[in-house]
Amino acid sequence: MSEDTTDTPLLTTPLDKLHVSLGGRMVGFAGYSMPVQYPAGIVTEHNHTRSKAGLFDVSHMGQCWLKGDSHEAVASALEKLLPGEVQALEPGRTRYTQFTNQDGGIIDDLMVTRPIDPADAGKLYLVVNASRKDVDYQLLKEGLDPSVTLEPIEDRALIALQGPSSETVINSLSDGVEDMAFMSSHSLKIAGIDCWISRSGYSGEDGFEISVPSESASSLAEQLLSHPDVIACGLGARDSLRLEAGLCLYGNDIDETTSPIEAGLIWSISKRRREAGGFPGEDRIKREIADGAKRKRVGILPGGRAPARDGTEITNEPGNVVGKITSGGFGPTLGGPVAMGYVPTELAAVGTSLNLMVRGKTLPASVAKLPFVPPNFKR
């Protein structure tokens, strides 16, 4: 997670006043002033999300509509920009995919939802990374069929409620979400506020992402926070939770040089798309599917207590640099350091011994199974 160091004025989210009133420590992130933590601290926020529920402001992320004449039209237009399966997406379902470039690198990763309401036929709802919003919207404007229009959504906030108590909390303020499956999506009145809710997230826990009109965002957040199981959590806990869950952070673990296959995201490319192709970078991606990638994203467990941060060089037994850590820190649930990085495929098997160069010292480490913490999704 890189913080901004420029002097450009930061944008604020509709929850800015609430963050400050809760004592959030505000930092620049992707051009937005965001809470990195609250007074409870990252470890407490992390552990609370794993045991009960944490509320995260993710309004900096880009929400947008794509609108076409029919689902087939809008889905086939979007599929020209990414290898994911959009055509077969059922109403009310959400999928994870990645925009790819001509070299098979990842321009961004995103969520695509087909709305459940028949009145929304021909629409797709996208959520993209804050840091890639401008790049993505330009890509969509240039790359979509002229019959499909892009409409950035500027008047809604996005709130993530993550953790095993999330369902109970939302049930206490709505008609109930116990029937919602993982990666499903629909409209729901929560505390009387019209929201779009999907059962998804970025923590490895059960949870929901809630799109809410900006003017009602603080009211919704406060009502969710008034439940005894919920505390406010910042970007710090969001990062440690997703790292333990083995999820990629754009700009760290995936970027324009890494392919979805190297990143271990092959599961997000359907059989039909693998066979039929028709997406940017398909030569490399299909070749890597057939022959294997030269390097792979793996979990890495440092042997001692010292965290290995992103950028740390990975060396093999003879001492040659073979890769680098792309995300690394301390996993509160594991109670020790955790990391992810890229290594040559021949060194990617779980249990392989590696070394990490931390502040000039060689520290032992081993390749570990991802995720570090078993997922706790609703199935």
Binding site: G236, A306, P337
Partner: protein, 121 residues
């Protein structure tokens, strides 16, 4: 015993020719809960303003600079197992290391408790 503070948010307690140092309460509040502390080796020579230790929170690693030049004569190795001692008692049991002072005049530019309180206020 003399207690002084540096611009880099360290405290230094001097008895005879030995300085015990650590990070201030203000510093530990800014860093958040520590998960790892790396200390210098006993016998190492440190230079005022040079690297002496590293304190790591969940989110980031931060360098701790030597507040004074000299030889490291002791380190608080209990922090290896309990880094949060620095959060709980930064100016007591969360001390980092002891340095045999090579140039006591380096103390002159440091702040007393009142001046440090104003500096962070």
């Amino acid at each position: 015993m003399t207690l002084k503070y540096t611009d880099d948010h360290e405290w230094v307690s001097v008895e005879g020719d030995t300085a015990t140092f650590g990070i201030t309460n203000h510093a530990q509040e800014q860093l958040g809960e520590l998960v790892y502390v790396e200390l210098p080796a006993v016998g190492a020579q440190v230079t005022k303003g040079g690297d002496a230790a590293v304190v790591e929170s969940v989110k980031a690693a931060s360098d701790v600079f030597a507040p004074i030049s000299g030889e490291v004569v002791a380190i608080n190795d209990t922090l290896e197992a309990e880094p949060t001692k620095v959060n709980e008692d930064p100016e007591g049991s969360g001390w980092l290391a002891k340095i045999k002072i090579s140039d006591a005049s380096e103390m002159d530019s440091m702040m007393d408790a009142d001046a440090y309180a104003k500096h962070t206020g």
